[in-house]
Amino acid sequence: MEATSLPSAQPAVLRGKRNLADRIGDPLLKWLSALAALLAVAVIGGIIYEVFHLAWPAITKFGLGFVTTNDWNPVASRFGAASFLYGTVITSAIAVLIAGPLSIAIAIYLTELAPRGLARPVATLVDMLAAVPSVILGLWGILVLGPFMHDTIEPALKSVLGFIPLFSGDPSAFGILTAAFILTIMATPIITSVTREVFETVPGELKEGAYAIGATRWEMVRHVVLPYSRAGIIGAVILGLSRAIGEAIAVAQVIGGATGIHVSLFHTGDTLAARIASQYQGAPDALQKASLAYLGVILLVFAIAANVIARIIVQRGGLKDVAPAPDIEAGATEAQAL
């Protein structure tokens, strides 16, 4: 590093040169990096503008009635989002209802139960589940999970819970339930990773206090870890929900691509994201493309709302303040999972 010697010890010519470079260097790096930051913020604005812009013909034609219309008829040029909205809500809700408790259980195992040498490898493997590309999970869903749902899981559900309308109807390889299971697999590593991070911030003194008054491990978790981490867990679940809402490809592969709202979970359906993925490229006319972009507007509103709420809840919960040093690895896996 040439700058380590004192300036006065250098020949005047060299000093002049270095000062020039340094005079330019500092503001240059500052403004260049500020520009990059501005670009990142601008991309968000650009995305919102462009999606609304492309959807505008459909927004002006159908108005808010689009959201409650249960029709997708290119021949008659009638389009509505209701059946995809239903598909998105029901698949994501099932996914989170399963993945939430499952992930909390996994996080309890990783932070409280796992033997020292085992916690890290198991956590890494769970994180790896988030790294599997969604198109591969979709392929697996079509050719492995789908047939298994058709032959085993759905008949079993039907024979036990068939009196509930949700589990009536004929089992099928493609449909809402298969898509919901694939989304469960995607949401679990995300919720687990954030929940585990939150659990690790619970002060040891509180846990030891619970043990000292005779609590069992579960009683300690229930009365110390869970209440302490409540905000973080809710934030984690919302992040998982946002992942499930936004998934397009794997859902398009396994849900069957049907319009209409059906009570049975075995029935085919479609979601907002999956419908855009499967039809945008081949959409024959401008109005259909605009209607697909309108689906995108609804999806974007959901996704941004979920993310904003989740971040606020997690930050209010004091996760950032409690954590003594930022744990990049957890941050990296979380960022990657999302």
């Binding site: 340094d22 990142a40 968000i44 590309p133 993925a277 995108g296 999806l299 960022a335």
Partner: protein, 296 residues
């Protein structure tokens, strides 16, 4: 797993205590089963891909291009080249910009501004990738008149940007303040300190973020459907045209009813999953080494 019960009769478990211990045992077992289940699903998926894909892997699969619809045989050479070009271009865009964003928030920005940028990155990270695809359609594909490798690369770069920038921010925060102060005390300017002291110290962690981002977008399908859809056979290296990609090849083959296409899809999935998982393992190894160095 629970502490061994004391043998003295005064501490013997009975009644209420026995019930509490039983509840505890049930929770412990179900938590362990939950963790096993998650690991099992990963292993089942990876094993399925391996078992069904390994048979179709041969030299021709890597060197031949995908034939036009229906024709049998062929490989994924065009898809490998296309994915390589698009991911490469995306990396060239996202990594420098992502690093600059991180440098801005950790070295120059006020607390409040840094917070806003961080929040924006988190929101960007939560935008569904299909929406990113629509954005690039409006930004590039419609003005250009057709999809292209460049459009695909821009979409992938937007997905990479928050991952690169967020990990870089976390890593730069780990660089000891004393190290920078030592440089300042010697009269070194800020930009030289950043480029010669801060970045090299954090290099391992920065590499981790970039590798994770590459692993993430290599398997991205949704934005490419909208921006770089392609039926043309043959290897194309010009990014101003539509380029094939491995994820899209898997998607198209998986939607086909023919078992031969499915075998091709599994083989391509094996190539992709091997690449993604190996990249993840390498990234974690780099991270572990870098962290060890930083924490001394």
């Amino acid at each position: 797993m629970s502490a061994t019960p004391p043998t003295h009769p005064l501490f013997a478990a009975r009644g209420n205590l026995r019930r509490r211990r039983r509840v505890n045992r049930v929770v412990e077992i179900s938590s362990t089963v939950a963790a096993l289940l998650a690991v099992a699903v990963l292993l089942i998926v990876v094993f399925s891909v391996f078992r069904k894909g390994v048979g179709a892997l041969n030299l021709g699969f890597f060197t031949k291009s995908t034939p036009l619809f229906g024709a049998s045989g062929g490989g994924i050479a065009n898809a490998i080249v296309g994915t390589g070009i698009m991911v490469g271009l995306a990396t060239l865009m996202a990594v420098p910009i992502g690093l600059l964003v991180a440098i801005y928030t950790s070295e120059f920005a006020e607390q409040r501004v840094a917070h806003v940028v961080r929040f924006a990155l988190d929101i960007l990270n939560g935008v569904p990738t299909i929406i990113t695809g629509i954005f690039v359609v409006g930004l590039i594909v419609i003005p250009q008149g057709h999809g292209s490798g460049t459009a695909g690369a821009v979409a992938l770069a937007i997905i990479m940007l928050p991952i690169v920038a967020r990990t870089a921010q976390e890593v730069l925060a780990l660089v000891p303040e004393t190290l920078k102060e030592a440089a300042y005390a010697l009269g070194v300017t800020r930009w030289r300190t950043t480029l010669r002291v801060t970045l090299p110290t954090a290099a391992g962690g920065l590499l981790t973020g970039s590798l994770l981002a590459i692993a993430r977008v290599a398997g991205e399908t949704a934005p490419l459907i909208l921006t770089s859809f392609l039926f043309a056979p043959g290897v194309i290296t010009d990014p101003s045209q539509g380029l094939a990609s491995i994820p899209l090849f898997i998607f198209q083959s998986s939607e086909s009813p023919s078992p031969e296409s499915h075998t091709q899809a599994w083989a391509a999935a094996l190539v992709l999953i091997a690449f993604v998982l190996v990249l993840n393992v390498i990234a974690r190894a780099f991270y572990a080494r870098s962290r060890q160095r930083l924490e001394g």
